[in-house]
Symmetry: C2
Subunit: 250 residues, 2 copies
Amino acid sequence: MKFLRRLYNYYFSPHRNFVTSLSSILGFVPANLSLYRLAFSHKSFSQTQPTSGARNNERLEYLGDAVLGTIVAEYLFKKYPNRDEGFLTKMRSKIVKRKSLNEIADQMGLDVFLIQNGVDMVSNSMLGNALEALIGAIYIDIGYKGTRKYVVKRILRSYMDIRLLETYDDNYKSQLLEWCQKNSKPISYKVLSKFKFDNRDRFRICVLVEEQVMATAEDFSKKAAEQLASKEALSLLVSNRKPSPHKAER
Amino acid sequence: MKFLRRLYNYYFSPHRNFVTSLSSILGFVPANLSLYRLAFSHKSFSQTQPTSGARNNERLEYLGDAVLGTIVAEYLFKKYPNRDEGFLTKMRSKIVKRKSLNEIADQMGLDVFLIQNGVDMVSNSMLGNALEALIGAIYIDIGYKGTRKYVVKRILRSYMDIRLLETYDDNYKSQLLEWCQKNSKPISYKVLSKFKFDNRDRFRICVLVEEQVMATAEDFSKKAAEQLASKEALSLLVSNRKPSPHKAER
């Protein structure tokens, strides 16, 4: 039955354009079109459309997020038979992190589908969410095995450099903590000020190594500011340079 | 081939006792015995056994955790076609939370398998971890569909009261915040003191509703203390036992 539906969708459906462009992304002809349409329905649009019954892609995103997590978990489990679960967990979170998904969805051109579904301004996070929702839709449409094949071939192998991710570490705070521990240097972070910017809280923080200010940074969250400051401090410490005085005194 | 292996395991294997007791838990005869043995190998044991090459159940636990998450996500997605993803996410975390898994594993009698594999003292968390590792082993042994059938039938339907979980909410802080929002009452938490107890930090905090102390509580984490105080405050507020709020004129 699904085969006939696919045949119909591809050759006779009134939505042939949608089917053709979707098929080129999927690598197969979708059977359940309404599911894929839902995957590209953002809540900002569905809320203004009472007829749509507030149906949006959030449920599919919830499902796709879980399915993607398992597929990636299994892929790494088999790819690295001798690595411990700490390594696997870290690798997995590097792969499925929001920023990567947003970028992949962008490269896949999912923005076009969102715009076709009535979204005016496509934000980065909308893209990543749509990718997760798409994976949820694929899962319901063709099951676990087919989805796994899709994710491995069309996402992991096409857009990810897994080997590069092995050594890539963008958690500068934990790198800095590790460095300080190894070199027996006490480290601490301090909030210098909290103020409003663009009506949002903004934090200015500094990182002190051996009670000396190594770097200061600011951002809309303490965590992000700490990362920025840690990155700068790390590059100074590793290259054995001193913080520039005007920075240190702030 | 797997069928023959199962047949052999059940009738002729030298580990027939293990196969029989495992089969009664699984509902099917396992093909890959070493996988299940690994699922019950705790790191505390493998580390003292150099011959085991530090092989323990942590990798399988990592895999099983992901697989379980997806199966539960899908189960809820289908069981509640009209609920939003916020509800589904909350329900999922109630089902897969550590405490539930520990209890289920205890009721399933997984402690026996851990003890047979050399664990002296079985802790609660070892049990939950072994259950996740068991799910990882089942997944590799019989694939996604079979694992889904196992989890739904032998875990969700046997040990969980999903309907009861719908209304069960042990996050008293979020309940209290919701109540205060609904009743337009400002709420805040305050740390009264932090001290050492048993060489650990202990916090004494209070919750203020309309700037009046409603309850105080202490625990080893701020979060836990806030939960305790919130629970007490909630019961006072809901039963209307709180001192009548004398509102400052504005």
